[in-house]
Symmetry: C2
DNA sequence: TAATATTTTTAGATTAGCCTAAAAATATCT
DNA sequence: AGATATTTTTAGGCTAATCTAAAAATATTA
């Protein structure tokens, strides 16, 4: 019996939460991420536990089993390959593709995703700079620094953004930041943790909120 | 409120049944096409009627409203565009794509389908020779004759097949018939209504079952 | 440690979509 | 026409996924 779309979405949420906050994942965190009630989460987690996708200890939390991790990784692979397709083939821009990929990621066909991967030239990263796991579920790792953590004078190139919602990406479009944009840290304001960066001869002020979502490869 | 996948599938079924057997569509016919119970059909048809997608008269039958026809046509457009994508871009063969397109047709994004259409060069027919409705819902019409109805000596070129299940299409692959195959009617056997056709110097015997599913453009 | 606050689970209800079995309506046949 | 067969609807029930409200467990704070 294949997983329902809903079950898949829960697994992905658990995966994503575990990725940032390590350790076991709380019911409430899942509820927040999925915009649903904690009661619904408890319900679904029980079912996923029955089916062997998560380890679940009442009042303690949830962890993905190997089976669950595999399922989540396949879903992420599909999501990121579809996003890549939408941008590289259909000329969507990076702020338009996430919601469509949320639907496409649930299409069930191993053959389809392998052919799509080949068609796209086995891309390693998606339009937001996120690594695309390969058929075996392996992610390409690379050194990356959060812009907000860089020191004055350091240079780098944007390689990824941590969030993918449309307003944030539109904001980056507006101030002229995209994947591969080279920049240098000009100054950092202690008062509000904002950062001024130099991008192509123009200085841009980035709030901490924004600067902490941008990942760079240092080039200095 | 958008239609659910299930509701979309019912509308498509009604559309397809009305296309062949004209007049209003019976509950039983829908049940057979959807492999579900007549009781479930009655249930769903009531709901679609509430929502204005079908006209429904108890014990008499179902007809699509303009709204319902539009929805069904969009679904068919999506199905056929995706099938075209799978064959022309991802090198699937015609017998592999129907089931995947059954899933892809439910992706909700007007922009996506318009871009896909453009990407594919605004194709007029899908891999099975079925016409793809354009953005306005218009189908390209053309003269076509059922192979089984052609007379001895007549020639033609295969332009479409009426059914799309894998075993039938694999059978056609095996005997060397595909879209655009030119052929001539050599003889017709009264006893079992079978037809012998000439395809590239070799004679092929087609049962009535097969010959009545193949559409040709006459070239003689 | 005891009181209070937060998190999590349970209980009970709702909706979509499906089922089987029985009842009602319509169609067919003698 | 009357009997029989078929089709369609109704009735009642099931599961997945959701919700709100209440209860239980855990965490925090005085
Ligand atoms: Mn999803
Ligand atoms: Mn992405
Ligand atoms: Mn479908
Ligand atoms: Mn087709």
């Amino acid at each position: 019996m294949p997983l329902s779309q809903t079950e898949e979405n829960y697994l992905k949420a658990v995966y994503k939460i575990a990725e940032s906050d390590q350790g076991s994942v709380s019911t409430n965190a899942i509820a927040k991420m999925m915009s649903t009630s904690a009661a619904s989460v408890t319900d679904m987690i029980k079912r996923l536990s029955e089916k062997g996708y998560v380890d679940y200890v009442k009042y303690y939390g949830v962890e993905l089993t190997t089976l669950g991790k595999t399922a989540a990784t396949i879903l992420i692979r599909k999501h990121r390959l579809w996003e890549t397709f939408l941008v590289s083939q259909l000329d969507f821009s990076w702020e338009e593709v996430h919601d469509i990929a949320e639907q496409l990621e649930h299409i069930q066909s191993k053959e389809l995703i392998e052919r799509l991967d080949k068609y796209l030239g086995f891309p390693k990263f998606d339009p937001h700079g996120d690594p695309i796991p390969n058929t075996e579920g392996k992610f390409t790792l690379r050194n990356q620094t959060i812009l907000a953590d860089m020191a004055i004078g350091e240079q780098g190139q944007v390689i990824a953004v941590k969030i993918h919602d449309t307003p944030f990406l539109q904001h980056l479009n507006q101030i002229g930041i995209q994947i591969n944009t080279p920049l240098r840290i000009v100054s950092k304001q202690d008062y509000d943790q904002s950062t001024t960066v130099l991008v192509e001869d123009s200085e841009i002020l980035l709030s901490h909120k924004v600067a902490s979502q941008i990942l760079l490869k240092k080039t200095s």
